[in-house]
Amino acid sequence: MYTTSSQTIGPYLHIGMAWAVDPEFAGPAVKGERITVEGRIVDGDGSAVSDAMLEIWQANAQGRYAHPDDTRELSLDDGFMGWGRVTTDEDGRFRFRTIKPGRVPGANGMQAPHLNVTVFMRGMLKQLVTRIYFSGDAANDEDPVLKLVPESRRDTLVARPGNGVLEWNIVLQGRGETVFFVI
């Protein structure tokens, strides 16, 4: 059967999506290093994208996904789904708090800790997919997915500490354009 075609989320996404928007992905009982990720989405003119939605999918601190296909014997955290949804404000900014995920297996060895990101917005007819890695993590050097990315563009996938948060931005087009994946 043919896959249904994608269409844009449009400008009024908040009507349908807001009920599940919550910048706190992990309750107080969830184990792991607490992180806050902040950033901004800009278009090819450097203008703020004020009507975008991000969805984040991640493993817990043990590196276990709360999903039936992750059958490894690693503990799950009660009440941690590993998923969150946020939208951008008038200035194109977003912010969420979660725990840093553990390492998970990849095609050729273990992957470095990362968050999986899906991007939706008006003016985008199908989602874009990218990743957030963590600055200074020793595992980044051996990550099989980062190795697929030209070295000059890898920075766009790495969140950097500053002012007590991790900063990670999305540039949709042009200078410093964020790396997006096709899977």
């Binding site: 059967m1 043919y2 896959t3 249904t4 075609s5 994608s6 269409q7 844009t8 449009g10 400008p11 009024y12 996404l13 908040h14 009507i15 349908g16 999506m17 009920w19 599940a20 278009d43 090819g44 203008s47 999918w57 996904y65 709360a66 999903h67 296909d69 992750d70 789904m81 590993g82 998923w83 998970v104 297996p105 990849g106 095609a107 050729n108 992957q111 999986n116 899906t118 939706f120 008006r122 003016g123 985008m124 007819l125 199908k126 989602q127 874009l128 997915v145 697929l148 990315v149 563009r153 949709l172 087009q173 042009g174 354009e177 964020t178 790396v179 997006f180 994946f181 096709v182 899977i183």
Partner: protein, 243 residues
């Protein structure tokens, strides 16, 4: 041996040719500055992508699937039933997955601060619904037929009547946001969003079909809209639908 087999569960097949729009589609003006200029980086699915969020029934409330029962009174407009199945590319139902919808009211107005179209707000219509598919992948909403409305993409631009659909499926890779249209809408062929899909048959699959079976006498017309998510890799022996 293929790397993905070393990980256990199978990966997902790519999208069928010409069924998906490109990021850059200049007739839809907002794509011009919001589409990547660099090629996307191809990668193999890993455990991160073949897994995805699992939503519980606990987050769904009684009237979430009946958009005519969310206000103090009855909304204005033509009551309709919208129902269908969520399937995967191997024609199997996708059970227990979250389906979210949102739409304009019968006058073509969204209850949203950025919608300044001069058409009435309906205080009894909030325009959002959600449900979880049953064991056979079925979903069902009761709602009001949405109105067409103008937008500023080009001179005298009007969106055909549509309902936005958001579906998750079993993994990060099956995520889909789309729009359902109505049969016989004269605006479809002039709509850049609809026309952004290269394949005419793929476009047609976004148009719901009138459905007597789900029409309720003296109550509501029924429309059927099936959604097909990406399917997992299978060997031809396992999959009678493989090419």
């Amino acid at each position: 041996m293929n790397a993905k087999h070393q990980q256990g569960p199978a990966g997902y097949r790519g999208y069928d040719r010409d069924t998906q729009p490109d990021y850059l589609y200049p007739p839809y003006a907002s794509t011009v500055k919001r589409s990547p200029s660099q090629p996307l980086v191809p990668m193999q699915a890993t455990l991160s992508e073949i897994t995805g969020p699992v939503f519980g029934f606990d987050r769904i409330l009684a009237n979430d699937a009946d958009l005519t029962k969310q206000g103090a009174g009855d909304p204005i407009g033509e009551r309709i039933v919208v129902t269908g199945r969520v399937l995967d590319g191997n024609a199997r139902p996708v059970p227990h997955t979250l389906v979210e919808i949102w739409q304009a009211n019968s006058a073509g107005r969204y209850p949203h601060r950025r919608d300044n179209h001069d058409a009435p707000i309906d205080p009894n219509f909030h325009g959002a619904g959600r449900t979880i598919t049953d064991a056979q992948g079925r979903y069902r909403f009761v709602t009001i037929k949405p109105g067409e409305y103008p937008w500023r993409n080009h001179y005298n631009a009007w969106r055909p009547a549509h309902i936005h659909f958001s579906v998750f499926g079993p993994s990060f890779l099956t995520r889909l946001i789309t729009q359902m249209y109505f049969p016989g809408d004269p605006l479809l062929e002039y709509d850049p969003m609809f026309m952004s899909i290269p394949d005419a048959q793929a476009r047609q699959r976004l148009v719901s079909t009138f459905d007597w079976e789900h029409t309720i006498p003296e109550q509501a017309l029924g429309y059927r809209f099936d959604i097909v998510l990406r399917g997992r890799d299978e060997t031809p022996a396992e999959n009678p639908f493989a090419a």
